[in-house]
């Protein structure tokens, strides 16, 4: 099309005042936001551009596997029995690897709770001593096929959901969600926390296990697809997902529970916890993304996870290598009595939902929680639209009604993030920085630049 004979339409990048002359002349224009690239190494960008065809092919292959995943809840078991490499003296935690010395308050509290729960320590003091002694080993959940919200603590005798990607044959694991208030995942270790965990192990777990086993499988992917149409983004809002799960499992619970009271207690517990589905949406995301691992030359992000100190990223094409940087403190709405000064830096494996095109990436589907993102539905839409700039593709199953059922932006390409300077948008809960206080708010954050810059530079150098 010849420029002089077409209608002029302008993309303005930079000084916004330049649009005035266009507007006055009736010319349509759009302002495109600009951020500097994450890396200053122009040669590496040139290298990735030169290899764009190869990388693109690899990314399409990796994303196709993620999109084709069929995650279903197929059973439950104890961590020691089902999680690969799980040991009695091993505690799994959220985020990239970290030593006890560098762990934040909530993660330490969660570990102390787990040690008391396991009967390895009698009281908090003994638990803290044991945790620091070197006799307990720590490893990221992600390195054992598992994911955990907030502190993400999994110890040997905790019951876990077993989610199978029926298309790829790989498995993912997550604990049962404890609910809000004083809970282990926020670092609480008081007696009532341990008591609840014990009840979940002795009453909730067998009940759900029997119910799932009688159903054979529960299709998690279709629950998430429906939940998005019902106002969830399945990270910070799981009300619809939890309801749908409840409808799927309730008849089986009633049929298989050893008595009415047990069935009622289990169902009451799920009903009373709007976030019950979170751990399942995380395991579903983990099972999907693990299918996209190990594709040579792929710059697809397969993990974003935080341990409350560091934010870590893994790529499909760079194996088990972690790229980390300091975890930021989320911008949040705080519960009465708390402020940003109380907040712990970002924590939890739950950013696996964003990695999978859900959570913050699907915030446009969740108008009910826009108060976390600036207050208007338009803000939420803007955040989702921005994520299309850094993703490999759009989801084939998870769709956003408001965007005319456009698939959610799925599969972060670390090269695109590095080039555009647009960082993944995460919506999340916020933990108190002191162990044992619990959740203090909920909010949003952009992932920190360092892990993505490092991942990009490492990936590009290895090309």
């Amino acid at each position: 099309m010849k420029l002089f004979e077409s209608e002029l339409k302008v993309v303005n990048i930079g000084l916004e005042s330049f649009r005035q002359g266009l507007t006055d002349s009736g010319v349509k224009s759009v302002q495109a936001q600009f951020r500097p690239p994450l890396s200053g190494e122009a040669a590496l960008f040139a290298k990735t551009s030169k290899n764009a065809a190869r990388i693109d092919k690899a990314n399409q292959k990796a994303l196709a596997r993620v999109l084709a995943a069929q995650p279903a809840l197929v059973g439950m078991g104890l961590a020691l029995d089902v999680i690969p490499g799980m040991k009695k003296d091993l505690i799994l935690h959220a985020g990239p690897p970290i030593t006890w010395a560098r762990m934040c308050g909530p993660m330490r509290g969660g570990i102390m709770a787990a040690l008391m729960y396991e009967g390895l320590a009698k009281n908090p003091k003994a638990a803290e001593k044991l945790a620091a002694s070197g006799r307990i080993k720590y490893a990221p959940c992600h390195e054992h096929g598992a994911v955990g919200p907030m502190a993400g603590i999994i110890s040997a005798s905790m019951p876990v959901f077993i989610v199978k990607n029926e298309a790829g044959g790989n498995y993912a694991y997550a604990t049962q969600n404890e609910g809000l208030g004083k809970v282990l995942r926020y670092g609480a270790y008081s007696p009532e926390v341990i008591e609840r965990l014990k009840w979940m192990e002795s009453a909730l777990y067998p009940t759900l296990k029997a119910a799932i086993s009688s159903l054979g499988r529960i299709d998690l992917k279709s629950i998430v697809a429906q939940a998005l149409h019902m106002g969830d983004e399945v990270h910070n809002r799981n009300r619809a997902g939890t309801s749908l799960f409840y409808r799927a499992i309730a008849p089986a619970v009633i049929k298989t529970a050893r008595d009415k009271e047990t069935a009622a207690a289990a169902l009451e517990f799920i009903n009373g916890n709007d976030h019950f589905f979170l751990n399942l949406s995380m395991a579903l995301s983990k099972a999907s993304l693990d299918a996209g691992r190990g594709v040579k030359d792929s710059s697809l992000v397969v993990v974003m996870a935080r341990n409350g100190t560091d934010f870590g990223v893994q790529l499909s094409g760079t194996g088990g290598h972690w790229f980390t940087g300091p975890a930021p403190v989320p911008d949040a709405l705080y519960f009465p009595g708390y402020t940003k000064a109380d907040a712990n830096p970002d924590i939890g494996d739950s950013a696996i939902t964003e990695t999978n095109g859900l959570g913050g990436f699907a915030i446009a589907a969740a108008p009910a929680i826009v108060q976390f993102v600036g207050g208007t539905a338009a803000d939420a839409v803007s955040y989702t639209l921005a994520m299309y700039e850094i993703t490999v593709g759009e989801n084939n199953i998870y769709k956003i009604p408001y965007l005319n059922f456009r698939g959610t932006p799925t599969g972060i390409d670390v090269i695109k993030a590095a080039r555009t300077g647009i960082l993944p948008f995460i919506d999340t809960g916020v933990a108190h920085k002191k162990a044992g206080v619990g959740q203090v708010g909920a909010g949003v954050l952009s992932a920190p630049p360092e892990p993505f810059a490092r991942a990009f530079e490492y990936f590009a150098r290895k090309l």
């Binding site: 004979e5 339409k9 302008v10 990048i13 010319v27 600009f34 338009a378």
Partner: protein, 523 residues
Amino acid sequence: MIKTIIKKGAYFDSVSLMQVAKKLNAVPGIIDSAVVMATRENKGIIKASGLLTPEVLKAGDSDLAIAVSAKTPEAAAAAFKAADELLNKKPAAAQGGADRKAAGLGDAVKALEGANLAVISVAGRFAGALAAECLDKNLNVMIFSDNVPVETEVALKRAAVRKKLLVMGPDCGTAIINGAPIAFANSVRRGNIGVVAASGTGLQEVTTLISNEGAGISQAIGTGSRDVKLEVGALTLIQALKMLAEDPGTDVILIVSKPPHPLILKKISAEIKKIEKPVVAVFLGGVIKEKIKENFYPAKTLEEAAYKAVCLGKGWKLGRAREIIYDMNLKAEELAKREAAKKKKSTRLRGLFSGGTFVSEAQVILPEMIGEVLSNAPLDKKFKLKNSMELRGHAVIDLGEDEFTMGRPHPMIDFSLRNKLIVSEAKKPEVSVLLLDLVLGYGANLRPLEDLLPSIVEAFIQNRELSIVTSVTGTETDPQARFKVVKGLEAAGVIVMPSNAGACRLAGEIVRLAARKQQGDLL
């Protein structure tokens, strides 16, 4: 006291930041301020202004540094608060809906179907990569940013030629495409004259002169200042000539440039030869001796070029161009005599320009009237001012040169430096005439009278013999409305001419008459 704060990872473009800094300086108790991305160059600027602190030194490229020199801690705090508010002010457009800000280029192209031009004004070090992405998306590109490496410019322009797209710039300040002013441009009539210009001010001058004379512009394409250099090879200029030659809306083509490299001039001439339409060309400071083709019309000044194009466009005889200039001079002669009569001791002309091309044009016109004219941007190196801040003899300076614009907005936006010079030059008893320019239009200062007049009033108080002559580059439909500005200037005692060339001739004539009169007085 010097106080600084660092905001990690907060990117803003430099012009927005300079606007913030300007507003911070207005906060009571603030002596000076700097709001910059903490790059190495910017740290240099902060250091030069005495605002460097260890925190700023430690900050990185992607961190925002706000530094203030304040009389009290309270003033510093107030300035930081003001900076926060200014930086976080959400433009209405960002709120979403139809006028939502796009998150990036991909989003923008999706949001605006059929987008065909990208205007890039981000920091130069990012502009090249961004422009390449735009070309990938089949957008024509105007790069306002400067400090883009010349190799990048060549690579972009070659890619554009291959894709039959246009790359205007880097360092392209202005263009008019399909009637719409882009970046620093004026609101001009549409018509049948197509302009291609390697100089932004030159483009603004010829398009406004043409429009004010009742003719109009089909397209005006900026090439960027380096296009006619040997390294770039006039890639954009030649492509623009081809596009204008083909454009059914263009009957006359007008080329504005500094003298190209001789090899490049050959290339340009060869292209001009192929064009059937009449072509007018002004290469300021150079003369085209070659008769390139029958309907080729060289001009010495922007003014001559513009009026020749008007005659060709309107089907008038070319002699009419000379008549317009003659009429202008006739009126000026009276004014020159009146002004010269005031002079008893002063004989010197000082030109303080915001437009670089006007400085070139002044050097084309003035020397044959008044002799040697010095400049910080001389056409002939022989006449280079030793110190750009110390004007001697007859001198004309370009305040848009890098030496003046480091860390501050362009003098077409921010008048403060020129205002200082207007007053300091007026205080010198040898100064007889101050020659100025004033560029209106989009992108330029929106309150020129409010910002300029106080220094004009002060200058007249300081120097009873002083004459101030200026041109006002603009049209009645510009946001500032030319007639309002002219009226305000005239009320303050400034003589306003229709063109820069006209202003130069009048200023020269005043000085010439004043000198002759004083010599006569001595005899």
